[in-house]
Amino acid sequence: MLSKIFKGTMLAAALVLATSAVAKDKIRVGISPEAYPPFTSFNAKNVWEGFEIDLLAALCKQMDADCPIVSIAWDGLIPALTGKKIDIIFNSMSITEERMKVIDFSDKYYNSPAELIGGKDAPKVTTTANPDGKGGMIANPADLKGKTIGVQTATIHADYAQKYFKDSTVKVYDTADNHNADLVAGRIDYALLDSVAADDFAKANAAKGIEAKLIVPGDPIFGVGAGAGLRKGDAKLKDKLNAAIKAVRASGEYDMVAKKYFNFNIYGE
């Protein structure tokens, strides 16, 4: 009797093992529900869409994996990753040193520059040599003297503004939507944000005088771009993902997806 039960359990276990060996790998992907078009947004039909969603599909096909998307608020993404509720973050997360202390990153999959936008009364902004003397260029702080610049809290843009725009008032907002609203209201003179989001917003609000003032030159603060966030030590998944990124870049699949959303080179240099 006992041995019969034992045999049955063994058989069941073997069956489970066999089916899981055939089934695709499952990679749970964390994306925040805050719309971030054209990268990630949840459309009226309750379906995810955007550049990152399409790119993710291409990468998962390349890796032969199932990639269910788990919707988690932006603030909760890293805790969810370290808490093993998700396996990767695929949400335009910039690769920064500060984040690298807590999580790992894949290679970058895009790198869009930062941009200063402002109302029609705000003058254009020029660039000047970085005072650190390493040959880099920065947005000219003299042009922004006495002005108020809006940034989103805990972003590379906030770090940049706080480092270089010492003679300006840097106003920190909880979301980019809110500093955009205040830019239209005239409470701030400029906003510093990602160029893709900036272009979209400026286009939609051109009638209200919002326009591009400067594409900000690259800077170490901006980092190397956006990568997929991974748990520390998850080397297997990291290698697989990096290989997949390389493969879709080489096959032209990346460019095909990118062309749908951008008329410039979103991958960067």
Partner: protein, 236 residues
């Protein structure tokens, strides 16, 4: 665990630096809001429907909608009306650019709504006998209001108002939505920068507990002072 304490110690100066903002928001909103509550309560009790209904409606709206929505609408909603308007040329513009005054405005109106209704109830709760005694002395109804009804009403609703002030202190945490970085907002900023979830919240919670403790003590002294005639003569 030990590491958590070290981390909390490292963020404490940043959080403590935000305490004055929380206190100033609470103080200004409590003073302005409670001052506005008096005319609102009086209007609410008026026999004239053109005075009573608007006041009742104001209370209904303030108590019926989330403070978050009120704050947001007052700041960003008014912001929609600003572009190109005369306000941007006026001498007030340097102030109206700042989220701070909008936060004070929103919290004051909200407090006025709640306290107005509490004060209305307290005025009606003043014992009839006391008012009749005042009438027997030949006091005019105006004098009865200022000498008997209002002081008695304040005595009656003081404990409730202490509770309201504590709620207000905690409600000021919504100000970070409109770029006013008080204790809670600062804790959330630290969370985002350091990716530590619990320690900033614990530290902020501790700061609020200390603030509430001090606030209740101060208000208790005020309450004792105002209600001193009701204290047990031996204990007092």
């Amino acid at each position: 665990m030990n590491e958590s304490f070290t981390f909390i110690a490292s963020i404490a100066p940043t959080l403590l630096a935000a305490v004055p903002m929380t206190l100033v928001l609470t103080f200004l909103s409590a003073v302005i809001g409670n001052s506005l509550a008096l005319p609102i309560a009086v209007a609410r009790l008026s026999g004239n429907v053109f005075v009573r209904y608007p006041s009742a409606f104001f209370i209904f709206v303030m108590r019926g909608t989330p403070l978050l929505a009120q704050t947001y609408l007052i700041y960003y909603g008014l912001g929609e009306l600003l572009p190109g308007s005369w306000v941007q040329q006026s001498f007030l513009w340097p102030y109206l650019r700042e989220g701070f005054w909008y936060a004070v405005f929103a919290f004051s109106l909200n407090t006025a709504g709640y306290t107005g209704e509490i004060l209305r109830g307290a005025i009606e709760a003043v014992p009839r006998g006391e008012i009749e005694a005042a009438k027997a002395y030949g006091m005019s109804s105006r004098m009865i209001f200022w000498r008997i009804k209002l002081p008695r009403a304040v005595q009656i609703c003081l404990p409730t108002m202490t509770g309201e002030t504590i709620l207000l202190l905690k409600a000021t945490s919504l100000a970070s939505l409109i770029t006013v970085w008080e204790v809670m907002g600062t804790a959330r900023q630290i969370q985002k920068v350091t990716f530590r979830v619990y320690e900033p919240l614990l530290a902020a919670g501790f700061i609020y507990i200390v603030l509430v403790f001090i606030l209740t003590r101060v208000l208790m002294i005020v309450e004792r002072r105002i209600n001193r005639h009701r204290l047990d003569p031996v204990a007092a």
